[in-house]
Protein backbone atom coordinates (compact mmCIF):
# COMPACT_ATOMS: atom_id res chain seq x y z
CA UNK A 1 0.00 0.00 0.00
CA UNK A 2 1.57 3.21 -1.20
CA UNK A 3 0.82 5.82 1.42
CA UNK A 4 3.19 8.32 -0.15
CA UNK A 5 1.16 8.13 -3.37
CA UNK A 6 -1.96 8.99 -1.42
CA UNK A 7 -0.54 11.64 0.85
CA UNK A 8 1.58 13.70 -1.50
CA UNK A 9 3.41 16.59 0.15
CA UNK A 10 1.25 19.01 -1.89
CA UNK A 11 -1.88 17.51 -0.33
CA UNK A 12 -0.53 17.79 3.19
CA UNK A 13 0.51 21.41 2.52
CA UNK A 14 -2.97 22.35 1.30
CA UNK A 15 -4.46 20.52 4.29
CA UNK A 16 -2.32 22.43 6.79
CA UNK A 17 -2.97 25.81 5.16
CA UNK A 18 -5.98 25.71 2.85
CA UNK A 19 -6.17 28.45 0.22
CA UNK A 20 -9.20 30.75 -0.14
CA UNK A 21 -10.85 29.23 2.96
CA UNK A 22 -13.69 31.00 4.76
CA UNK A 23 -17.06 32.23 3.54
CA UNK A 24 -17.11 35.55 1.68
CA UNK A 25 -19.48 38.01 -0.01
CA UNK A 26 -20.60 38.51 -2.68
CA UNK A 27 -21.98 35.24 -3.95
CA UNK A 28 -24.90 34.12 -6.07
CA UNK A 29 -25.21 30.56 -4.77
CA UNK A 30 -24.37 28.71 -1.58
CA UNK A 31 -24.60 24.94 -1.21
CA UNK A 32 -24.03 22.49 1.62
CA UNK A 33 -22.76 19.04 0.70
CA UNK A 34 -22.25 16.09 3.00
CA UNK A 35 -20.55 12.75 2.62
CA UNK A 36 -23.15 10.61 4.44
CA UNK A 37 -20.82 7.70 5.08
CA UNK A 38 -18.21 9.68 7.02
CA UNK A 39 -20.01 12.92 7.86
CA UNK A 40 -17.57 15.24 6.08
CA UNK A 41 -19.25 18.54 5.25
CA UNK A 42 -18.63 21.58 3.10
CA UNK A 43 -20.52 24.82 2.72
CA UNK A 44 -19.42 26.44 -0.51
CA UNK A 45 -20.24 29.75 -2.20
CA UNK A 46 -19.70 30.74 -5.80
CA UNK A 47 -19.56 34.28 -7.11
CA UNK A 48 -19.99 34.64 -10.87
CA UNK A 49 -19.12 37.86 -12.66
CA UNK A 50 -19.18 38.51 -16.45
CA UNK A 51 -19.02 34.83 -17.28
CA UNK A 52 -16.07 34.25 -14.98
CA UNK A 53 -15.78 32.46 -11.61
CA UNK A 54 -15.19 35.59 -9.52
CA UNK A 55 -14.76 33.80 -6.20
CA UNK A 56 -15.08 30.42 -4.50
CA UNK A 57 -15.30 30.58 -0.72
CA UNK A 58 -15.96 27.72 1.63
CA UNK A 59 -16.19 26.37 5.12
CA UNK A 60 -15.20 22.73 5.20
CA UNK A 61 -14.84 20.09 7.87
CA UNK A 62 -13.24 16.85 6.87
CA UNK A 63 -10.15 14.79 6.23
CA UNK A 64 -6.89 15.90 4.63
CA UNK A 65 -7.99 14.68 1.20
CA UNK A 66 -11.31 16.54 1.16
CA UNK A 67 -9.81 19.71 2.65
CA UNK A 68 -6.83 19.79 0.30
CA UNK A 69 -8.95 19.01 -2.73
CA UNK A 70 -11.30 21.93 -1.99
CA UNK A 71 -8.28 24.21 -1.55
CA UNK A 72 -6.85 23.11 -4.92
CA UNK A 73 -10.27 23.57 -6.52
CA UNK A 74 -10.41 27.20 -5.39
CA UNK A 75 -6.84 27.82 -6.60
CA UNK A 76 -7.60 26.38 -10.00
CA UNK A 77 -11.00 27.83 -10.77
CA UNK A 78 -11.09 31.36 -9.34
CA UNK A 79 -10.72 33.85 -12.16
CA UNK A 80 -11.45 31.28 -14.87
CA UNK A 81 -14.30 31.59 -17.43
CA UNK A 82 -17.21 29.35 -16.44
CA UNK A 83 -17.01 27.09 -19.52
CA UNK A 84 -13.30 26.54 -19.04
CA UNK A 85 -13.87 25.86 -15.32
CA UNK A 86 -16.36 23.12 -16.17
CA UNK A 87 -13.70 21.62 -18.45
CA UNK A 88 -11.16 21.53 -15.62
CA UNK A 89 -13.81 20.05 -13.33
CA UNK A 90 -14.44 17.34 -15.90
CA UNK A 91 -10.72 16.52 -16.07
CA UNK A 92 -10.48 16.23 -12.29
CA UNK A 93 -13.53 13.96 -12.08
CA UNK A 94 -12.10 11.76 -14.86
CA UNK A 95 -8.82 11.53 -12.96
CA UNK A 96 -10.61 10.50 -9.76
CA UNK A 97 -12.79 7.92 -11.48
CA UNK A 98 -9.93 6.52 -13.55
CA UNK A 99 -8.88 3.78 -11.07
CA UNK A 100 -5.33 5.09 -11.24
CA UNK A 101 -5.14 4.48 -15.01
CA UNK A 102 -5.59 8.11 -16.10
CA UNK A 103 -2.45 10.17 -16.70
CA UNK A 104 -3.16 13.66 -15.32
CA UNK A 105 -2.36 16.75 -17.37
CA UNK A 106 -0.33 19.11 -15.19
CA UNK A 107 -0.94 22.01 -17.61
CA UNK A 108 -4.64 21.81 -16.75
CA UNK A 109 -4.80 20.42 -13.22
CA UNK A 110 -1.63 21.93 -11.68
CA UNK A 111 -1.57 20.92 -7.96
CA UNK A 112 -4.58 18.73 -8.75
CA UNK A 113 -2.28 16.09 -10.22
CA UNK A 114 -1.26 15.26 -6.64
CA UNK A 115 -4.61 13.51 -6.30
CA UNK A 116 -3.79 10.92 -8.98
CA UNK A 117 -2.84 8.48 -6.20
CA UNK A 118 -6.20 8.95 -4.45
CA UNK A 119 -7.92 7.25 -7.39
CA UNK A 120 -6.32 3.98 -6.26
CA UNK A 121 -8.09 4.20 -2.89
CA UNK A 122 -11.80 3.68 -3.67
CA UNK A 123 -12.89 4.65 -0.15
CA UNK A 124 -11.24 8.07 -0.51
CA UNK A 125 -12.48 9.14 -3.97
CA UNK A 126 -15.64 10.62 -2.47
CA UNK A 127 -13.46 12.66 -0.11
CA UNK A 128 -11.54 14.15 -3.04
CA UNK A 129 -14.73 14.94 -4.93
CA UNK A 130 -16.77 16.48 -2.09
CA UNK A 131 -15.74 20.11 -2.76
CA UNK A 132 -15.77 19.63 -6.53
CA UNK A 133 -19.33 18.32 -6.57
CA UNK A 134 -20.38 21.18 -4.31
CA UNK A 135 -18.73 23.68 -6.69
CA UNK A 136 -20.55 22.26 -9.73
CA UNK A 137 -23.88 22.34 -7.93
CA UNK A 138 -23.33 25.94 -6.74
CA UNK A 139 -22.13 27.16 -10.15
CA UNK A 140 -25.09 25.65 -12.00
CA UNK A 141 -27.43 27.31 -9.49
CA UNK A 142 -25.63 30.65 -9.70
CA UNK A 143 -25.78 30.67 -13.50
CA UNK A 144 -29.43 29.57 -13.55
CA UNK A 145 -30.35 32.33 -11.10
CA UNK A 146 -28.47 34.96 -13.09
CA UNK A 147 -30.14 33.85 -16.34
CA UNK A 148 -33.53 34.00 -14.66
CA UNK A 149 -32.91 37.63 -13.76
CA UNK A 150 -31.99 38.66 -17.32
Amino acid sequence: MDLQALYQEIILDHYKSPHHAGLREPYEAEVHHVNPTCGDEVTLRVHVEDGVIGDISYDAEGCSISQASTSVLADLLIGIPIDQAHGIHQKFVELMQGRGQVEPDEEILEDGIAFAGVAKFPARIKCALLGWMAWKDATVRAVTDLEAKI
Binding site: M1, L3, L6, Y7, L12, T37, C38, G39, D40, E41, E61, G62, C63, S64, I65, Q67, F121, R124, C127
Partner: protein, 428 residues
Amino acid sequence: MTTTETVAAFAPVTGFDVERIRADFPILSRRLDGDRPLVYLDSANTSQKPRQVIDAMTAHYEQINSNVGRAVHQLGDASTQAYEAARVKIAAFINAPDPSEVIFTKNASEALNLVANTLSWARGDYEVGAGDEVVITEMEHHSNIVPWQLLTERKGATLRWFGLTDEGRLDLSQIDSVITDRTKVVSVVWVSNMLGTVTPLETIIRRSHEVGALVVVDASQAVPQLPVDVTALGADLVAFTGHKMVGPTGIGVLWGRSEVLDALPPFLGGGSMIETVKMEASTWAPLPAKFEAGTPPIVEAIGLAAAVDYLSAIGMDRVAQHEHAITAYALSRMNEIDALTILGPAEAVDRGGAISFELEGVHPHDVSQILDSLGIAVRAGHHCAKPAHKRFGVQSSTRASFYLYTTSGEVDALIDGLDQTKRFFKVA
Protein backbone atom coordinates in the same frame (compact mmCIF):
# COMPACT_ATOMS: atom_id res chain seq x y z
CA MET B 1 9.53 7.54 29.72
CA THR B 2 11.01 8.09 33.19
CA THR B 3 11.12 5.37 35.81
CA THR B 4 8.69 7.22 38.07
CA GLU B 5 5.82 6.80 35.60
CA THR B 6 3.59 3.80 35.94
CA VAL B 7 3.80 1.56 32.93
CA ALA B 8 0.42 0.16 32.02
CA ALA B 9 0.36 -3.62 32.20
CA PHE B 10 -2.11 -6.08 30.73
CA ALA B 11 -3.78 -8.29 33.32
CA PRO B 12 -4.83 -11.45 31.48
CA VAL B 13 -7.82 -13.50 32.62
CA THR B 14 -6.58 -16.70 34.25
CA GLY B 15 -7.12 -19.73 32.04
CA PHE B 16 -8.41 -17.65 29.11
CA ASP B 17 -6.25 -18.82 26.22
CA VAL B 18 -6.51 -16.12 23.56
CA GLU B 19 -4.11 -17.85 21.18
CA ARG B 20 -6.20 -21.00 21.25
CA ILE B 21 -9.33 -18.97 20.52
CA ARG B 22 -7.56 -17.14 17.68
CA ALA B 23 -6.69 -20.47 16.07
CA ASP B 24 -10.45 -21.02 15.59
CA PHE B 25 -10.76 -17.89 13.44
CA PRO B 26 -9.26 -18.53 9.99
CA ILE B 27 -9.27 -14.87 8.96
CA LEU B 28 -7.05 -13.85 11.88
CA SER B 29 -4.08 -15.62 10.32
CA ARG B 30 -4.39 -14.00 6.91
CA ARG B 31 -1.88 -11.46 5.68
CA LEU B 32 -2.63 -8.06 4.23
CA ASP B 33 -0.74 -5.88 1.76
CA GLY B 34 2.97 -5.83 2.46
CA ASP B 35 2.69 -9.26 4.13
CA ARG B 36 1.46 -7.61 7.31
CA PRO B 37 -0.58 -9.61 9.82
CA LEU B 38 -4.17 -8.49 10.29
CA VAL B 39 -4.79 -6.53 13.48
CA TYR B 40 -8.56 -6.53 13.56
CA LEU B 41 -9.86 -3.85 15.92
CA ASP B 42 -13.30 -3.36 14.37
CA SER B 43 -15.40 -5.99 16.13
CA ALA B 44 -18.08 -3.51 17.22
CA ASN B 45 -18.70 -3.08 13.51
CA THR B 46 -18.80 -6.80 12.83
CA SER B 47 -17.03 -9.67 14.57
CA GLN B 48 -14.99 -12.35 12.85
CA LYS B 49 -16.37 -15.90 12.58
CA PRO B 50 -14.85 -19.08 13.98
CA ARG B 51 -14.40 -22.23 11.92
CA GLN B 52 -17.21 -23.86 13.96
CA VAL B 53 -19.78 -21.34 12.67
CA ILE B 54 -18.56 -21.51 9.07
CA ASP B 55 -18.56 -25.33 9.19
CA ALA B 56 -22.04 -25.56 10.69
CA MET B 57 -23.43 -23.42 7.88
CA THR B 58 -21.55 -25.32 5.17
CA ALA B 59 -22.70 -28.65 6.60
CA HIS B 60 -26.31 -27.50 6.53
CA TYR B 61 -26.02 -26.41 2.91
CA GLU B 62 -24.25 -29.64 1.95
CA GLN B 63 -26.44 -32.14 3.78
CA ILE B 64 -29.76 -30.69 4.94
CA ASN B 65 -30.67 -27.67 2.84
CA SER B 66 -34.43 -27.41 2.43
CA ASN B 67 -37.14 -24.91 3.27
CA VAL B 68 -38.62 -24.98 6.77
CA GLY B 69 -42.08 -25.49 8.19
CA ARG B 70 -43.78 -26.79 5.07
CA ALA B 71 -42.07 -29.75 3.38
CA VAL B 72 -43.00 -33.30 4.37
CA HIS B 73 -39.82 -34.84 2.98
CA GLN B 74 -36.86 -35.91 5.12
CA LEU B 75 -34.76 -32.88 4.30
CA GLY B 76 -37.64 -30.56 5.14
CA ASP B 77 -38.03 -32.25 8.51
CA ALA B 78 -34.32 -32.05 9.26
CA SER B 79 -34.09 -28.41 8.19
CA THR B 80 -37.13 -27.45 10.28
CA GLN B 81 -35.73 -29.28 13.29
CA ALA B 82 -32.36 -27.57 12.92
CA TYR B 83 -33.99 -24.16 12.53
CA GLU B 84 -36.21 -24.63 15.58
CA ALA B 85 -33.32 -26.11 17.59
CA ALA B 86 -31.42 -22.90 16.82
CA ARG B 87 -34.27 -20.90 18.34
CA VAL B 88 -34.20 -23.04 21.46
CA LYS B 89 -30.43 -22.54 21.84
CA ILE B 90 -30.66 -18.80 21.44
CA ALA B 91 -33.55 -18.65 23.91
CA ALA B 92 -31.42 -20.55 26.43
CA PHE B 93 -28.42 -18.30 25.76
CA ILE B 94 -30.38 -15.21 26.84
CA ASN B 95 -32.48 -17.12 29.38
CA ALA B 96 -35.77 -16.42 27.63
CA PRO B 97 -38.67 -18.15 29.42
CA ASP B 98 -40.03 -19.58 26.17
CA PRO B 99 -38.36 -20.17 22.76
CA SER B 100 -41.49 -18.88 20.99
CA GLU B 101 -40.58 -15.43 22.32
CA VAL B 102 -37.46 -15.44 20.13
CA ILE B 103 -38.24 -13.88 16.74
CA PHE B 104 -35.66 -14.15 13.98
CA THR B 105 -35.21 -10.96 11.98
CA LYS B 106 -32.69 -9.76 9.41
CA ASN B 107 -30.69 -7.74 11.95
CA ALA B 108 -31.16 -5.54 15.02
CA SER B 109 -32.39 -2.63 12.88
CA GLU B 110 -35.22 -4.77 11.57
CA ALA B 111 -36.04 -5.93 15.09
CA LEU B 112 -36.28 -2.32 16.31
CA ASN B 113 -38.31 -1.30 13.26
CA LEU B 114 -40.64 -4.23 13.89
CA VAL B 115 -41.34 -2.89 17.36
CA ALA B 116 -41.70 0.77 16.34
CA ASN B 117 -44.01 -0.06 13.42
CA THR B 118 -46.25 -2.51 15.23
CA LEU B 119 -46.59 -0.06 18.13
CA SER B 120 -47.86 2.52 15.66
CA TRP B 121 -50.37 0.05 14.21
CA ALA B 122 -51.44 -1.41 17.55
CA ARG B 123 -54.83 -0.65 19.05
CA GLY B 124 -55.47 -0.63 22.76
CA ASP B 125 -52.94 -0.41 25.58
CA TYR B 126 -49.79 -0.46 23.49
CA GLU B 127 -50.87 1.99 20.80
CA VAL B 128 -48.67 5.06 20.56
CA GLY B 129 -50.85 8.01 19.57
CA ALA B 130 -51.11 11.79 19.66
CA GLY B 131 -49.95 13.25 22.97
CA ASP B 132 -47.96 10.14 23.92
CA GLU B 133 -44.23 10.29 24.45
CA VAL B 134 -41.37 8.01 23.43
CA VAL B 135 -38.07 8.33 25.29
CA ILE B 136 -34.65 7.44 23.88
CA THR B 137 -31.11 8.68 24.63
CA GLU B 138 -28.54 10.85 22.92
CA MET B 139 -26.10 7.92 22.66
CA GLU B 140 -28.30 5.69 20.51
CA HIS B 141 -27.22 4.15 17.23
CA HIS B 142 -29.23 5.64 14.36
CA SER B 143 -31.21 2.39 14.25
CA ASN B 144 -32.64 3.20 17.68
CA ILE B 145 -33.35 6.85 16.78
CA VAL B 146 -34.81 6.92 13.28
CA PRO B 147 -37.59 4.29 13.76
CA TRP B 148 -38.84 6.28 16.76
CA GLN B 149 -38.66 9.56 14.85
CA LEU B 150 -40.75 7.94 12.11
CA LEU B 151 -43.24 6.59 14.66
CA THR B 152 -43.68 9.82 16.62
CA GLU B 153 -43.94 11.95 13.47
CA ARG B 154 -46.58 9.71 11.93
CA LYS B 155 -48.65 9.47 15.08
CA GLY B 156 -48.34 13.01 16.41
CA ALA B 157 -46.48 11.72 19.45
CA THR B 158 -43.43 13.38 21.00
CA LEU B 159 -39.88 12.07 21.01
CA ARG B 160 -37.82 12.89 24.10
CA TRP B 161 -34.35 11.84 25.15
CA PHE B 162 -31.83 11.65 27.94
CA GLY B 163 -28.73 13.76 27.45
CA LEU B 164 -25.18 12.74 28.29
CA THR B 165 -22.69 13.85 30.92
CA ASP B 166 -19.25 15.09 29.87
CA GLU B 167 -17.87 11.66 30.75
CA GLY B 168 -20.26 10.04 28.28
CA ARG B 169 -22.70 8.58 30.80
CA LEU B 170 -26.47 8.95 30.66
CA ASP B 171 -27.65 12.02 32.55
CA LEU B 172 -30.49 10.54 34.58
CA SER B 173 -30.68 13.46 37.05
CA GLN B 174 -34.11 14.45 35.68
CA ILE B 175 -35.37 10.91 35.12
CA ASP B 176 -38.73 11.53 36.80
CA SER B 177 -39.50 14.44 34.51
CA VAL B 178 -38.27 12.70 31.35
CA ILE B 179 -40.12 9.43 31.94
CA THR B 180 -43.64 10.45 33.00
CA ASP B 181 -47.26 9.30 32.83
CA ARG B 182 -47.25 10.42 29.19
CA THR B 183 -44.41 8.01 28.31
CA LYS B 184 -45.53 4.96 26.31
CA VAL B 185 -42.16 3.57 25.26
CA VAL B 186 -38.60 3.87 26.54
CA SER B 187 -36.03 2.52 24.09
CA VAL B 188 -32.45 2.55 25.25
CA VAL B 189 -29.08 1.11 24.32
CA TRP B 190 -27.42 -1.31 26.76
CA VAL B 191 -23.81 -0.83 25.64
CA SER B 192 -23.02 2.19 23.43
CA ASN B 193 -21.35 1.30 20.14
CA MET B 194 -19.53 4.65 20.12
CA LEU B 195 -18.81 5.66 23.73
CA GLY B 196 -18.64 2.15 25.14
CA THR B 197 -20.85 3.22 28.03
CA VAL B 198 -22.89 0.54 29.80
CA THR B 199 -26.21 2.15 30.70
CA PRO B 200 -27.89 1.69 34.11
CA LEU B 201 -30.83 -0.28 32.76
CA GLU B 202 -32.16 -1.28 36.16
CA THR B 203 -32.91 2.33 37.11
CA ILE B 204 -34.47 3.07 33.73
CA ILE B 205 -36.59 -0.09 33.69
CA ARG B 206 -37.84 0.51 37.24
CA ARG B 207 -38.95 4.07 36.46
CA SER B 208 -40.45 3.08 33.09
CA HIS B 209 -42.56 0.33 34.61
CA GLU B 210 -43.65 2.66 37.42
CA VAL B 211 -45.39 4.78 34.77
CA GLY B 212 -46.54 1.78 32.72
CA ALA B 213 -44.20 2.36 29.77
CA LEU B 214 -42.83 -0.46 27.62
CA VAL B 215 -39.06 -0.87 27.74
CA VAL B 216 -37.15 -1.75 24.57
CA VAL B 217 -33.42 -2.50 24.86
CA ASP B 218 -30.94 -2.31 21.99
CA ALA B 219 -28.56 -5.04 23.09
CA SER B 220 -26.52 -5.22 19.86
CA GLN B 221 -23.22 -4.59 21.66
CA ALA B 222 -24.30 -6.19 24.94
CA VAL B 223 -25.21 -9.74 23.95
CA PRO B 224 -21.79 -10.27 22.30
CA GLN B 225 -19.89 -9.00 25.36
CA LEU B 226 -21.89 -9.71 28.50
CA PRO B 227 -23.79 -12.60 30.06
CA VAL B 228 -27.41 -11.69 29.28
CA ASP B 229 -30.48 -12.88 31.17
CA VAL B 230 -33.59 -11.25 29.73
CA THR B 231 -35.76 -12.73 32.46
CA ALA B 232 -33.70 -11.11 35.20
CA LEU B 233 -33.32 -7.90 33.21
CA GLY B 234 -37.05 -7.19 33.26
CA ALA B 235 -37.24 -5.32 29.93
CA ASP B 236 -40.20 -5.97 27.65
CA LEU B 237 -38.38 -6.27 24.33
CA VAL B 238 -34.69 -6.83 23.52
CA ALA B 239 -33.06 -6.55 20.08
CA PHE B 240 -29.66 -7.81 18.97
CA THR B 241 -27.82 -9.01 15.90
CA GLY B 242 -25.94 -12.18 15.01
CA HIS B 243 -22.92 -10.84 13.15
CA LYS B 244 -21.46 -8.98 16.13
CA MET B 245 -21.42 -12.17 18.26
CA VAL B 246 -19.26 -14.37 15.98
CA GLY B 247 -22.38 -15.35 14.02
CA PRO B 248 -23.24 -14.66 10.38
CA THR B 249 -24.73 -11.53 8.85
CA GLY B 250 -28.39 -11.55 7.81
CA ILE B 251 -29.82 -12.63 11.13
CA GLY B 252 -30.99 -10.65 14.12
CA VAL B 253 -33.16 -11.45 17.10
CA LEU B 254 -36.09 -9.77 18.75
CA TRP B 255 -36.94 -11.21 22.11
CA GLY B 256 -40.19 -10.02 23.65
CA ARG B 257 -42.44 -11.00 26.53
CA SER B 258 -45.13 -13.16 24.94
CA GLU B 259 -47.88 -11.01 26.48
CA VAL B 260 -46.52 -8.00 24.55
CA LEU B 261 -45.77 -9.86 21.30
CA ASP B 262 -49.21 -11.47 21.34
CA ALA B 263 -50.87 -8.07 21.66
CA LEU B 264 -48.94 -6.46 18.81
CA PRO B 265 -50.20 -6.77 15.22
CA PRO B 266 -48.06 -8.49 12.55
CA PHE B 267 -45.15 -6.60 10.96
CA LEU B 268 -44.61 -8.10 7.50
CA GLY B 269 -47.36 -10.08 5.81
CA GLY B 270 -46.82 -13.17 3.71
CA GLY B 271 -46.20 -16.88 3.88
CA SER B 272 -45.61 -18.65 7.20
CA MET B 273 -47.12 -15.88 9.33
CA ILE B 274 -50.75 -16.82 8.72
CA GLU B 275 -53.20 -19.19 10.31
CA THR B 276 -55.61 -18.99 7.40
CA VAL B 277 -56.05 -16.72 4.40
CA LYS B 278 -59.32 -15.85 2.73
CA MET B 279 -59.75 -13.24 0.04
CA GLU B 280 -61.63 -11.02 2.49
CA ALA B 281 -59.27 -11.30 5.46
CA SER B 282 -56.67 -13.45 7.16
CA THR B 283 -55.78 -14.59 10.65
CA TRP B 284 -52.34 -14.90 12.17
CA ALA B 285 -50.18 -17.80 13.25
CA PRO B 286 -49.15 -17.92 16.89
CA LEU B 287 -45.68 -16.78 18.03
CA PRO B 288 -43.03 -16.83 16.73
CA ALA B 289 -44.34 -17.47 13.17
CA LYS B 290 -46.61 -14.40 13.34
CA PHE B 291 -43.53 -12.20 12.98
CA GLU B 292 -41.58 -14.34 10.51
CA ALA B 293 -43.17 -13.80 7.10
CA GLY B 294 -41.57 -15.54 4.15
CA THR B 295 -38.67 -17.97 4.07
CA PRO B 296 -36.54 -17.05 7.07
CA PRO B 297 -32.72 -16.83 7.20
CA ILE B 298 -32.50 -20.58 7.88
CA VAL B 299 -28.79 -21.22 7.52
CA GLU B 300 -28.01 -17.95 9.27
CA ALA B 301 -30.07 -19.13 12.26
CA ILE B 302 -28.08 -22.36 12.29
CA GLY B 303 -24.87 -20.32 12.11
CA LEU B 304 -26.05 -18.17 15.00
CA ALA B 305 -26.79 -21.28 17.05
CA ALA B 306 -23.23 -22.47 16.37
CA ALA B 307 -21.99 -19.06 17.49
CA VAL B 308 -23.97 -19.35 20.70
CA ASP B 309 -22.54 -22.83 21.27
CA TYR B 310 -19.06 -21.45 20.69
CA LEU B 311 -19.48 -18.55 23.12
CA SER B 312 -21.20 -20.75 25.71
CA ALA B 313 -18.35 -23.28 25.64
CA ILE B 314 -15.93 -20.49 26.52
CA GLY B 315 -18.37 -18.91 28.95
CA MET B 316 -19.82 -15.43 28.59
CA ASP B 317 -18.55 -14.42 32.02
CA ARG B 318 -15.01 -15.13 30.81
CA VAL B 319 -15.59 -13.36 27.49
CA ALA B 320 -16.73 -10.34 29.51
CA GLN B 321 -13.67 -10.54 31.77
CA HIS B 322 -11.31 -10.66 28.80
CA GLU B 323 -13.12 -7.76 27.14
CA HIS B 324 -12.77 -5.78 30.35
CA ALA B 325 -9.07 -6.62 30.73
CA ILE B 326 -8.25 -5.65 27.14
CA THR B 327 -10.32 -2.47 27.36
CA ALA B 328 -8.65 -1.44 30.63
CA TYR B 329 -5.23 -2.02 29.10
CA ALA B 330 -6.09 -0.12 25.91
CA LEU B 331 -7.51 2.82 27.88
CA SER B 332 -4.38 3.07 30.02
CA ARG B 333 -2.09 2.91 26.98
CA MET B 334 -4.17 5.44 25.05
CA ASN B 335 -4.11 7.80 28.00
CA GLU B 336 -0.31 7.88 27.56
CA ILE B 337 -0.64 9.48 24.14
CA ASP B 338 -0.49 13.26 24.04
CA ALA B 339 -3.03 14.83 21.72
CA LEU B 340 -5.38 11.84 22.08
CA THR B 341 -8.81 12.45 23.59
CA ILE B 342 -11.09 9.58 24.47
CA LEU B 343 -14.80 10.16 23.84
CA GLY B 344 -16.68 8.33 26.57
CA PRO B 345 -15.65 6.92 29.93
CA ALA B 346 -11.86 7.04 30.31
CA GLU B 347 -11.88 4.24 32.90
CA ALA B 348 -12.93 0.64 32.38
CA VAL B 349 -15.88 0.91 34.75
CA ASP B 350 -19.34 0.07 33.38
CA ARG B 351 -17.73 0.17 29.99
CA GLY B 352 -17.74 -2.04 26.92
CA GLY B 353 -14.93 -2.75 24.52
CA ALA B 354 -15.33 0.09 22.02
CA ILE B 355 -13.08 3.12 22.38
CA SER B 356 -13.72 6.16 20.20
CA PHE B 357 -11.10 8.86 20.19
CA GLU B 358 -9.77 11.95 18.55
CA LEU B 359 -6.15 12.54 17.62
CA GLU B 360 -5.63 16.28 17.58
CA GLY B 361 -4.71 17.63 14.15
CA VAL B 362 -5.41 14.40 12.25
CA HIS B 363 -8.83 13.61 10.81
CA PRO B 364 -10.21 10.12 11.67
CA HIS B 365 -10.16 9.15 8.00
CA ASP B 366 -6.49 9.87 7.85
CA VAL B 367 -5.83 8.06 11.13
CA SER B 368 -7.56 4.94 9.86
CA GLN B 369 -5.81 5.18 6.49
CA ILE B 370 -2.35 5.21 8.11
CA LEU B 371 -3.36 2.40 10.50
CA ASP B 372 -4.70 0.40 7.55
CA SER B 373 -1.34 0.68 5.81
CA LEU B 374 0.07 -1.08 8.90
CA GLY B 375 -2.57 -3.82 8.74
CA ILE B 376 -4.63 -2.37 11.60
CA ALA B 377 -8.38 -2.25 10.93
CA VAL B 378 -10.30 0.39 12.92
CA ARG B 379 -13.42 2.37 12.07
CA ALA B 380 -13.48 6.06 11.18
CA GLY B 381 -16.56 8.19 10.89
CA HIS B 382 -19.68 8.81 12.94
CA HIS B 383 -20.33 5.11 13.68
CA CYS B 384 -24.05 5.69 13.00
CA ALA B 385 -24.18 7.84 16.14
CA LYS B 386 -24.17 11.40 14.81
CA PRO B 387 -26.05 12.94 17.76
CA ALA B 388 -23.56 11.48 20.25
CA HIS B 389 -20.68 12.93 18.23
CA LYS B 390 -22.41 16.30 18.10
CA ARG B 391 -22.81 16.19 21.87
CA PHE B 392 -19.04 16.11 22.17
CA GLY B 393 -18.55 18.81 19.53
CA VAL B 394 -17.02 16.53 16.94
CA GLN B 395 -18.18 15.40 13.54
CA SER B 396 -16.45 12.05 13.54
CA SER B 397 -14.00 9.91 15.47
CA THR B 398 -11.74 6.90 15.16
CA ARG B 399 -12.91 3.77 16.97
CA ALA B 400 -10.96 0.73 18.09
CA SER B 401 -13.09 -2.14 19.35
CA PHE B 402 -12.10 -5.45 20.88
CA TYR B 403 -13.46 -8.95 21.30
CA LEU B 404 -12.61 -12.35 22.72
CA TYR B 405 -9.78 -12.84 20.19
CA THR B 406 -8.08 -9.48 20.76
CA THR B 407 -4.58 -9.64 22.24
CA SER B 408 -2.62 -7.10 24.25
CA GLY B 409 -0.06 -7.25 21.42
CA GLU B 410 -2.72 -5.92 19.06
CA VAL B 411 -3.36 -3.03 21.44
CA ASP B 412 0.40 -2.36 21.42
CA ALA B 413 0.33 -2.37 17.60
CA LEU B 414 -2.45 0.22 17.72
CA ILE B 415 -0.44 2.44 20.07
CA ASP B 416 2.64 2.19 17.81
CA GLY B 417 0.43 2.88 14.78
CA LEU B 418 -0.97 6.01 16.39
CA ASP B 419 2.56 7.15 17.11
CA GLN B 420 3.46 6.67 13.45
CA THR B 421 0.30 8.53 12.43
CA LYS B 422 1.34 11.50 14.55
CA ARG B 423 4.79 11.51 12.96
CA PHE B 424 3.37 11.16 9.44
CA PHE B 425 1.16 14.21 9.94
CA LYS B 426 3.86 16.01 11.93
CA VAL B 427 1.69 16.35 15.01
CA ALA B 428 3.78 16.91 18.12
